[in-house]
Symmetry: C3
Subunit: 164 residues, 3 copies
Amino acid sequence: MDDTDLIRRVEALEARLREVEDRAAILDLIARYGPAVDTCNGEAVRDLFADDGTYELEGWFFTHETMDQTVTTDLHERYVAVGSAHVMSLPTIELHGDDAVAINYSRVFIARDDQWIVDRCAANRWDLTRTTSGWKVKRRVNRLLQGTPASHELLAGEVPPPVR
Amino acid sequence: MDDTDLIRRVEALEARLREVEDRAAILDLIARYGPAVDTCNGEAVRDLFADDGTYELEGWFFTHETMDQTVTTDLHERYVAVGSAHVMSLPTIELHGDDAVAINYSRVFIARDDQWIVDRCAANRWDLTRTTSGWKVKRRVNRLLQGTPASHELLAGEVPPPVR
Amino acid sequence: MDDTDLIRRVEALEARLREVEDRAAILDLIARYGPAVDTCNGEAVRDLFADDGTYELEGWFFTHETMDQTVTTDLHERYVAVGSAHVMSLPTIELHGDDAVAINYSRVFIARDDQWIVDRCAANRWDLTRTTSGWKVKRRVNRLLQGTPASHELLAGEVPPPVR
């Protein structure tokens, strides 16, 4: 084997390794959402999002600037006071160079009496982007799973229409 | 260092990288099950399975040919109409070259009133195989967790007897 | 390119690959907890922990020596008899060479009538260490999510005080 072959193999390794690193970084980014909101750490939530990142739920819309308000809604403050777990499921991840799309389920478990009930169960689409500070969320859309077409479209991979 | 050493190191990297790529591909394969069934996309379910792939649950048995019927059972159609989340837990994965075994939990969350209840909670064993179209499921066995020996055997890694 | 450059690139690949391998091994280690306890396999639980590993829950404290007793408490035996799923969520993972910290949620789903209820929902901090037998748990701390400061501190990444 001459050096040219070896260089090509090393280059191929570098490209492939970058993809598995990207997947690991995206898993970690999504996993960090729960501990951030369950400790009411608005700055930690904001840090998951790109500078132009947005988070849309039925009834709420947050931009990077207002992202810390995700943890100060009445509903959220009640959740954390009684005991809450915002649990993100294993996502599917599609990589496209410096962009990626992840789809998963989120559930909010809330303490009630001696058990925990599931107070929210939603489909999530995460549009992600590579920034100089690592992978960040450009847009997260969250839709409650109540049999609506909008929730099924999200799970099916359709790009949700812009909010405004 | 001479070239032979360097080639050996590159070869070792290639083999190790392949293993982490395999793990990432298997995580993604398993994560794609939920969105496929919760959108009643029978073709997407079928696409997760190898040409000779099977899916066994107590009371149902699907082959590659009938796999799209996973989303047309009465139970499933009721699930999706009210709002459902088929959530796959983080699996354990054992790689054996071109085959692999994953074990995890699946739960079906169903909307009821203003909450979601857990209508199914099961142990799963996934026998996986590398095909020319990537990793696919050769056999998935799903057993409800109701204290039965069969469910414990599945979680313990025992190979379930063939259906027929 | 001369050989020195190529060697440097191979070395960089080796270091980066090791990190993604570490992450994959830690995911697998955490995923193995559920099947171990839900089959009452005390030895499998012990095998997840380093020789000086400990596991702390409110009301219980296990060392490597007593780790098999995690599956023989009254509560646990009742869980497994009726049907239980100890499900670990996707963790955040911070690597520091031969040590790592993972934070996630655990939930215990228990069969009741025709459904499963969530009987425990807890924050978990896993201090992990690389051993000659692979990654192991040095210390796991589990705190029920009931709105307590101790549970929030755990999720926020604070190191819990030693038990004794």
